[in-house]
Subunit: 295 residues, 4 copies
């Protein structure tokens, strides 16, 4: 292995752990964050100055405005031959734009979808990467440091955007898998012939068709709180699920299970459902059915 130097922008929950894992593999990481307590340097300028050309700078900040602003600044600070990696949760459609803006200045661009959450430091991060072969090759030692052991966990999925697109679809699949377990759990909890739903879930961890890492996490969660009484039935969504459905619509691909999973999350966040008010109103109009008043 050739030890390499990496600039890393964004040292939050994900970025901080990634810095640690890359360093353990023997590489040098210089990290910058707006929070000076987390950072190795005080500014992007200092970060760029501290790296030898050709530089590789990994951006790990929130998708949208923060990523755009960082890419813009790096475009001004870096030199031809340098490479920017966007490892955040950017929409794949942003990648082409970033690649073009940087290419105009001779700077390479690679998009990297990163999966692994809080378990990545220990188990490694799965990486889905998009970009030209040449640019990807420059970052490969860092990818090798981040990825899990074994043959899987890394793919060069295609041209710029293919990494984030693959990660987005990964998350779409994740939505429907989580929904699958959640629906099964609710049904088992509701029907009284099953005495101990948690033990049913635990039993599924070996020998079944549905064994998975998510199932292991479900058992962990039930061990903490058998009937999940401590939680509200409230689920956020983080963008990738929405983009997956939008990409499917643009391509006329039916995604009924993934979309149902997304809509279930939307509904979970409504204190009172407007559309169900209309259903109640219509039932009242034609049938004199009892309705519940808002009070």
């Amino acid at each position: 292995m050739t030890a390499m130097q990496l600039g890393l922008v964004g040292l939050g929950k994900m970025g901080g752990n990634m810095r640690e894992r890359i360093r353990r593999a023997g590489h040098t990481v210089i990290g910058y964050d707006r929070n000076p307590e987390l950072a190795d340097v005080h500014s992007l300028e200092e970060l760029v100055g501290a790296l030898e050309a050709p530089r590789v700078v990994w951006v790990m900040v929130p998708a949208g405005a923060a990523t755009q602003s960082t890419v813009d600044q790096l475009g001004d600070l870096l030199e031809p031959g340098d490479t920017v990696v966007d490892g955040g949760n950017s929409r794949w459609t942003d990648d082409e734009k970033h690649a073009e803006e940087l290419a105009a200045k001779g700077i390479g661009f690679v998009d990297a979808g990163v999966s692994g959450g809080v378990w990545g430091l220990q188990n490694g991060y799965a990486l889905m990467v998009g970009g030209d072969t040449e640019n990807v090759a420059r970052v490969q030692p860092v990818f090798d440091a981040l990825k899990p052991e074994g043959d899987a966990g890394f793919v060069h999925a295609g041209k710029v955007g293919a990494g984030h697109f693959s990660k987005m679809v990964h998350n779409g699949i994740e939505y429907a898998m989580m929904q699958a377990y959640a629906e099964g759990w609710e049904l088992l909890e509701k029907v009284h012939s099953v005495t101990d739903v948690r033990e049913v879930f635990r039993s599924w961890q070996e020998g079944t068709v549905i064994r998975s890492w998510l199932l292991d996490l479900a058992v962990n969660a039930l061990d903490d709180d058998e009937h999940l009484d401590k939680l509200r039935g409230y689920a956020d969504d983080s963008g990738e699920g929405r983009w997956t459905v939008e990409a499917a619509i643009d391509n006329a691909v039916p995604l009924p299970a993934i979309t149902a999973s997304l809509f279930a999350r939307f509904a979970s966040r409504q204190d009172d459902s407007p559309q169900m008010k209309m259903i109640a109103a219509l039932r009242n109009q034609f049938g004199g059915h009892a309705v519940e008043s808002a009070e």
Copy 2:
């Protein structure tokens, strides 16, 4: 028209109005109800005794145990050549059973799905009828009295069960149509470029592809309560929607929109969604995502 005699069992909201409409058409109706204030006679025995053979008795009581009990008693009281009509919301699978039980005693059976709600007295009741031609013919004067004016509003849909089956599918369609307007209304209310959603709905009543009686009811409801603030987003379901989906599953027919409409009602009745607790738990396990506690 030949005036006929009808025994009518069940004089609630529906049955009471039907008695009135049949009488207005010149027929004789003898009504029985457990509530003596509503009834013309004091018992089923008295009802049967007051009718001349061959008798026609229309049962208009809740589906399930009440209908079964009434059919059983009429089987004991009536004579060969008499006819029972089940105009309640029975499941079509009950009809065959009732028809067989009565046929063993020489008594005819007709099932009649009735639509119209509180508007039926004035506008007429749409009728979907199942049974042998001979039995249906005996009840035809009453059907003619109940149905709306015009060519539509009555169908002899097929053999025993076909009436309630058709009415059940009618209600399944109704679920999805109501859901369609409800979804559209929520989206319009949510997006602020549209100033007055009620006026948009009102405008749709003429010239559009989606004009319908349900749309007219929606406008009535919005005229009463522009943003439906007085209602909770809580919708019951009355059986037919469930049976429609079950019939579809038995016959391998995909019903995505009708089923989605049924599930939306189920979800509307949950204060907190168990499946969404599981989603929240899983998100917390893998990503350290913030969750909302039950408190």
Copy 3:
């Protein structure tokens, strides 16, 4: 009524009939179309030259590039004080852009969603309109000519974009209503207790909760072809359904029935479903289940 002059660009199936209906109301319409056989003038220049200021020009061409190009040309040809109406199926997000481009030149803009199809010439066109009060007022005589008789059929829904947004939601609702009838029809056709499904549909036209103009059309279609044997189960979609779902996703509004209806259309256009190949492959992998080969 004050007779007014209107320039109309696009004289296809919709535009041609609209010209006729506006003329019948006593207004002057000068129409332009790329097809000289349909047109009253030979160019947009000639059209603009033939109208007296302040001019109103109604654009009725395909959404997207054709509308953009027409708006661009009219921006160059018209004068301050003139007004452009986009009556096509443009996405509401395009309207703000067009309004800004024209406002920079002192030209007003109104977006109008138009419903009515081939029945509009006779019955009138329902109109959902967005724009400033002043601009809408200038076009009002034409709106009055196009709309159906009666109180409904026209709404000034809000600011620029609100017209097309309302029309888009109308179409989303339409998707789910059509799907509702289609699901019910398939279930009735599949289950053999119902002898004559067409007569069941016909009976629903009076007195039922689900009576509607779409139901009337369904009966017309079944009168032409009782079991729809002459048609393939293949349904296009025209953009508004997709935009409705995308708008819902952007606003975190769950639209399960409308989205299911859209996905059913997507699936109808696939000769062979890729996702079902994967299901078949997985079943084969774990269970040795029989699969069907592509041959």
Copy 4:
């Protein structure tokens, strides 16, 4: 471990492998099958005669009529104190009936949902078991022989029916998980920025949130046939998915993702979709939209 004797009825793909795995664990298995080439004995009578009381007989035949008939015969042949295990795919509602019928004769009953498919011989079979503690305990040595190594893979889920109910929900979850991967795969295959979808799937096997045994099988399938060109997009369903949705409907539990997965299979088996013919017919009626004729 105490070696025990087991009678096993049904030696097909599942039963044959189970006999082998139980024997490897040191127990005695006497197998009966209608196919004499597979059987150890020639009749159920001979099977029962060859076992010492108290007997345990495991039934592993198709759900429905075959299981009912076998249970009936065993009820006549066995003695008080014996135990019947139904390890087939029976509906949980059948279990109570079977348990009652056998209990009247002093015979115990246990229901066992079995997962594992063609991989069970090697990896073990996951078992979800319902019944009285006493009856389950009698069969425990066989359960221990069948289950995978490790703590998971076996659960006594509750009273009679709880085993098959848990297995049914397992299969419902499986439907939605398979659908999740299938939807993601189709979307990736459709969008051209991703060069090699198979390698994306392979990369997901380590470090991702969606790693699972089903994902491993998907990679196996893609290794056999990269684009699944050899398969038709046609998927059967085996009953448990339908029963899961019906149980949910009976309990007012919304299952949008599982139900969508079931409906996608139904649709995959239709050469031409009747409901989409109706959509096409309606579009033609109101808009003069082009339709595709059946030829």
